[in-house]
């Protein structure tokens, strides 16, 4: 039995470590490449929006006044949903959205930090007092989806949820004012 010379032994260890580091480097490059690829080709990005709003007055006038909440289809056909997340409910409690079209969700809160996710989709964001949370998405299946608050906001947190009603083009008919409400089912 011949023993390795210490220098050979060290060289072998270094070779193994370099090989391992190369493998880890390839994995990291692959992961980052996939993230960049899906971002550029499929529009999958982390929601990012820095927009301030005064939480003390957001319900009094402007974008998040009561008559502006819910789903609105603009003259250019874009669909925007405005929601207030407050202890312990969403206003409105049911949100109508079209299937297969780009939808912009805009949320604000007058009280504490909330968060939303919509089941079966990648929609997931925090709603922080003082900021407008904005998410762009496209719903691919029609039906009712659950939208719970996913950030503990107080004793009524578990009761805080809304319904997202994804409608087909036949069902999604804006009124003269461009607004769409949930269908009674």
């Amino acid at each position: 039995m011949t023993e390795l010379h210490p220098e050979m032994h060290e060289r072998r260890i270094l070779g193994t470590e370099l090989l391992w580091a190369f493998g880890v480097g390839v994995l990291i490059a692959l992961t980052l490449g996939m993230i960049v690829f899906t971002a550029l080709t499929m529009g999958i990005n982390p929601p990012s929006n820095v927009e301030r709003i005064d939480p003390k007055t957001l319900h009094l006038s402007g974008e998040f006044a009561e008559h502006n909440l819910g789903t609105t289809v603009g003259p250019d056909g874009s669909t925007t949903v405005r929601i207030i997340a407050t202890q312990f409910m969403f206003v409105p409690r049911c949100i109508a959205v079209p299937r297969g079209r780009l939808v912009t969700l805009r949320l604000a809160t007058p009280d504490v930090i909330h968060g939303i996710l919509i089941t079966g989709t990648n929609v997931n964001t925090m709603v922080v007092p003082g900021y407008v949370a904005q998410v762009h998405t496209e719903f691919t299946r029609d039906g009712d989806l659950l939208m719970p608050c996913h950030e503990y906001c107080g004793t009524g947190h578990s009761e805080m949820w809304a319904t997202v009603q994804v409608m087909t083009n036949d069902q999604f008919k804006p009124g003269a004012d461009g607004r769409v409400s949930c269908a009674q089912r």
Binding site: M1, E3, L4, R12, I13, T16, W20, G23, V24, L27, T31, M34, T38, M42, G43, I44, N45, P46, P47, S48, L102, G120, T121, N122, V123, N124, V135, H136, T137, E138, F139, T140
Partner: protein, 65 residues
């Protein structure tokens, strides 16, 4: 240490065996390979799990941004 207190070194079962240098060298020749296989397969499992979730759950859930 007081002499009336027993020491672990007094117990033959607690004292390390004499190490045969040749046997150690023989074992150390395969131990790094085993460690590499174990670490490599665990990382591979982790990456496969990540890819399955990314490709089968995250991507089909559609566009967001």
């Amino acid at each position: 240490m007081h002499s009336d207190q027993p020491s672990a070194a007094d117990d033959p079962a607690e004292v390390a065996d004499d190490i045969d240098k040749a046997a150690l060298a023989r074992v150390m020749r395969t131990v790094p390979l085993g460690a590499a296989v174990l670490a490599g397969s665990m990382v591979a499992l982790l990456v496969i799990g990540y890819l399955l979730i990314y490709l089968l759950i995250f991507i089909p859930r559609g566009t967001v941004g």
